[in-house]
């Protein structure tokens, strides 16, 4: 029982940490998350400020590359700490695009897209990174999200909503959501907890039934007129 309590305590502490830390950022740096582990070989690409990678250095001085990847602002504010507000499709708005690109690197492709909105239409600069988050981003943009995206059985559940930032040219830059390790952890904790409770319940039920058989009839204490006084 002590071991179980220790495990539970450790799990609780880890859970508290995951609530505080932006683990999705860490995940992306490790090559996990929406960009996939396959891009680990081009890690320099994901940190253009360091000047590493084949294309990182030259593209930093030419903002027109890849269709004008937004690099406005030099704010070092982390997007997680930026005053977040909901945009039209529920993502988090960053103070500037650099909040995102400074962590995940320049997008693989950027395209301009006009999406109809309640105010007429909104011009978006859609930044693609080639991961699973791209697909979910487009789904959010279209405004038609299937209900099962909100269930733990679909990968979209483990991704944040897309991030947006206002570009100097008036368009809205949109970036794919990132993998949420905290969500994964809590979901596993919850599902694991339910499975554990069901397992314990079944095990104890089996033990009780076995105990009843092994103890014969004399342990039947509530049976009036029992053959034995012993329990």
């Amino acid at each position: 029982m002590k071991t179980r309590r220790t495990i539970a305590l450790v799990a609780l502490i880890v859970a508290l940490f995951t609530m505080v830390l932006p683990l999705d950022t860490i995940a992306q740096r490790r090559g996990g998350g929406s960009f996939g582990g396959s891009r680990g070989g081009s890690r320099g690409y994901s940190s253009p400020c360091s000047g590493g990678g084949s294309f990182g250095g030259s593209r930093r001085s030419s903002p027109g590359g890849y269709g004008g990847a937004p690099r406005s602002g030099s704010s070092s504010t982390r997007y997680g700490n930026a005053p977040a507000m909901r945009n039209s499709f529920g993502g988090s708005r960053m103070s500037s695009s650099s909040d995102y690109t400074s962590r995940y690197g320049a997008p693989r492709a950027s395209t301009r897209q006009t999406v109809p909105s309640s105010n007429g239409s909104t011009n978006y600069t859609v930044n693609r990174y080639g991961g699973m988050g791209d697909g979910f981003m487009m789904g959010y943009m279209m405004g038609t999200m299937p209900w099962y995206w909100s269930t733990p059985f679909h990968p979209a559940y483990y991704y944040s909503r897309p991030y947006t930032a206002m570009n100097p040219d008036g368009t809205t830059a949109i970036y794919p959501g990132t993998f949420q390790w905290g969500t994964l952890f809590f979901t596993l904790l919850l599902i694991g907890g339910v499975i554990f409770i069901v397992y314990v319940w079944l095990r104890n039920r089996r033990r009780r039934s076995l105990g009843y058989v092994s103890s014969g009839g004399f342990s039947d204490t509530n049976d009036s007129g029992a053959k034995s006084s012993f329990m």
């Binding site: 104890n204 105990g211 014969g216 004399f218 007129g225 029992a226 034995s228 012993f230 329990m231």
Partner: protein, 160 residues
Amino acid sequence: MAEFSIEGNGRLEKTAIYYNGDQLDGVREIFLNLDENGAFDAIIMYIGTDEKSYTKNIFVDYLENVRTEPPGFSEEEARSLSLFTIVSDGELAQTTILRNNEEQNGVVSVYVHIKAPSVPQGGGLRAFFGGQKEIPEHTEFKAEIVYREDNGDLTTEGLF
């Protein structure tokens, strides 16, 4: 004078304990050790109506919160069982032993030790999460009486 009886066939599953005519329930252990040299131990351990465990001297103490139940054996069943009875006030000099309602004479000693196996302790939520403890106990069933024959020899007999 309390009357304490044990009825059975030598198996725990068919052993009934009576105290002043009432069949007891929830009994965990019986220990009787009486001999002509003055030993008089008569202990009963039972789980009371409040689910607490009690250990009492059978002929001296009041059996607090003891559970009783209607007689379990029919008359027909009882005919195939042995009945061992002690009537006493806790003093050896005031103790009468009966077997199948026949008073016994020449008794040197009586030794009875009947113990039920493990019992679960702790229930509710604790039991649900595996906190229920099984106290490992082995079943004990020993019941002997020693007589002194007319020629001075000692004879040991099983009570059931």
